[in-house]
Symmetry: C2
């Protein structure tokens, strides 16, 4: 963005605020330089030699990054607290105390050997919006609540604790930090003994907004500034067992084989064929495979592999799964093998709120940005909150669609654009 | 077989021997009951709960089985010794000391968790032939040498030491026993310091014959008694690396993926298609596979897999490999991936001797057996000896083609049939 234009806009916004802020606020912009500096400062915690971020939840790097983030929240004049699930909360009063807060946020933990943008852009973006509003003395009707959710990458634990609650069983689960979830929550200042405290119910938020990097390559490829997320896809995962018969690779003629790996290969091709055979943005992935006994000279007798299907429409996932199973039945007959599908994980699709989505799109266009309505193929904290509040998500381009990698990158200009869309969506929603 | 007929034949053979043994010997038969009892007795050493045999070379079970085998060899009136490579040698003088010995043998070591027939049928069969000749006072023109080769399953070390010699590097290689080859040879009574001693040169044997289970399912399926091995197939093995690009399975659209596992699946299908596209008994196997990073929700960026091709004709293996590579070039283009083939092992095909093969076939037919000329898809000690002597192999049916498994089985009748073919092939070759 052009810095000179930016400064002039800010100045004129500040001058006119006292009279008619909705109109005046149209000129309001975040401080893009500060926002990108905060991202760079945050990236120090857990920095890897490859230039990425290794900041697994409940580790020392996570703890230090949280301290830094709370400092930024206080500088943005937010009242900071930590809930029992370890979520960082930053509150700002509204003009009308009876209104529920408008919430915005994301997370600052990373996957192992991850990047410096996933979650972090939305977290720093939300704080930047609060700081801009504070320093420009913009008083919203609604209270504002910035939420930095704990342990998103390990399984959206912080947002799940807020919308659904955590069970004793979940508290006992291991995490990548080496601690259990319960130990981890305690380590970052939460209280695993008081897990009803973070719970919010329907109506407790006016809306929840999350700015995030796309993590895919669509916006960059189509040269679009802002993605308006229509929903967060549902996910079904299965473990797939293929049973054939292990035998000597030298002495067993080709027509007497029951080769589990050949059958698995046909299955992998079938998944790709079925998923790409109908229009839409559904995806299907086979990501893991093992053949037994696993020697050069033995026909594989058993293969353990996977299936993952994602779409906004759970019924479409079921349709795809049925078609894959129909293909598998033919593969079984052709290869003399037997397939077993065991469902291991299901995440229900979470559509974003139609009105919030429309507001994001309109706001982005009025700011001069091109937009595209798109699903989020990845899971997010917004998904957890969808059952209790209208949610909206704003995507910015990811270079080459790379994410969960040290090579993850979004440009400072795109980050500033996204934060401005977040700011003005807050302002528009507040007017309602 | 009919025991009554059997006894009468033996008796008549014994009576007529003094006059014209070639004619009389036509009635000679091995003692099938004794042979199968020896196999059952041998199976005690390394017996597994599943009823198979775990008798890895250079282990205590191997040592005990060798002691038992030497006892049987002495009972068959053979002069027993152990060469420096740990091979058991059992010698019997011939009528003409100037003739090189006719050699017959196999091995008694097993793969881990293997069966009680692979190698063992040929080893006990060779001893039974010697014992039959001895007790019927049949004096051959040629000396006879029964050889029980050491460590066949670990890489035909005993026969390799005899035909080619072992290098210092080979002596240092690890084995499944936990010992190096050199330590193992010493353990079983060999002398790794004298490895020129076992070496034989071209002309040192008149021929080498090996009785063996088929290890495939062809003889059983076609209800044929005896397989006449036309050669032992050559083997080429490659490690295959497929490089794509690892990415988020949720956010990367199907048409933007460079999925190394999808490419590998197409490759596995291509191997099967190419190998079965031309007539012949060639086989092609992909036995091992690993996808990285190997998670449900990550598109595989790299796959490590294998290729093994076997045929009697090394030129055909090369032709198949070229066709597979041509298919792979198309897969690379279609999937945006890169394949690398690294040759890891080559075993040159070993044709059996045309005259020996013809003698086995004719002998088996005269004994009333159906025969089929076929390749050996598995490697054998005979393969090692082929460069220094005419070799021949006699196959008997394997139930369901199962081998290297506790379920490996050949019937007592088939075992007796095979030993009788071995006996009469020795007699016929000796006449020449």
């Amino acid at each position: 963005m052009n810095r000179r234009t930016f400064n002039i806009s800010l100045a004129s916004a500040a001058c006119s605020l006292a009279f008619s802020w909705p109109q005046a606020s149209a000129q309001l912009r975040v401080n893009g330089q500060r926002l990108n500096q905060h991202l760079a400062d945050l990236a120090v915690f857990g920095k890897t030699p490859e230039g990425g971020t290794h900041r697994v939840a409940y580790t020392e790097a996570d703890l230090q990054a949280r301290e830094f983030t709370m400092k930024l929240m206080r500088e943005a004049r937010l009242d900071v607290s930590i809930d029992a699930a370890g979520n960082l909360l930053g509150r700002r009063a509204g003009r009308n105390a009876k209104l529920p807060p408008l919430a915005l946020g994301s997370h600052i933990d990373s996957v192992p050997q991850g990047g410096s943008y996933d979650g972090q852009v939305g977290a720093m973006g939300a704080i930047e919006v609060a700081q801009t509003l504070a320093e420009q003395n913009v008083a919203l009707a609604h209270p504002l609540e910035v939420i930095i959710f704990s342990n998103e990458e390990g399984g959206t634990y912080g947002s799940h604790a807020m919308a659904h609650g955590l069970t004793e069983k979940q508290l006992g689960l291991p995490t990548n930090s080496g601690k259990t979830v319960g130990e981890g929550i305690k380590y970052i200042g939460g209280d695993p003994g008081k897990l009803s405290q973070p719970l919010r119910k329907r109506g407790d938020f006016a809306a929840y907004l999350e700015l995030h990097i796309e993590q895919g390559g669509i916006l960059e490829a189509e040269k679009i500034n802002i993605g308006v997320v229509e929903g967060i896809v549902g996910i079904n995962q299965w473990e797939v067992i293929v049973e054939g018969f292990a035998n000597h690779a030298g002495t067993t003629p080709m027509n007497q084989r029951r080769d589990a790996l050949l059958a698995a290969a046909k299955y992998i091709e079938a998944v790709n064929r079925v998923v790409t055979s109908i229009p839409g943005r559904q995806v299907g992935t086979v990501g893991r495979i093992q053949a037994q006994p696993g020697a050069y000279n033995v026909i594989p007798g058993k293969v353990t592999t996977t299936l993952e299907l994602r779409d906004l429409d759970m019924a479409k996932i079921q349709l795809l799964f049925q078609r894959i199973q129909a293909e598998v039945a033919q593969i079984e007959t052709a290869t003399g093998t037997k397939f077993t599908f065991k469902e291991t994980n299901t995440v229900i699709a979470a559509p974003t709120d139609v009105r919030v989505r429309g507001t994001i799109d309109e706001t982005a266009r009025r700011l001069g940005f091109t937009t595209k309505t798109m699903p989020s193929g990845a899971g997010h904290d917004a998904q957890e909150l969808a059952p209790i509040t209208p949610v909206g998500m704003i995507f910015i381009p990811s270079r080459a669609g790379i994410s969960h990698s040290p090579r993850e990158f979004s440009s400072p200009a795109d980050i500033t654009n996204g934060a401005n869309v977040l700011l003005h969506t807050v302002l528009r929603l507040d007017e309602r």
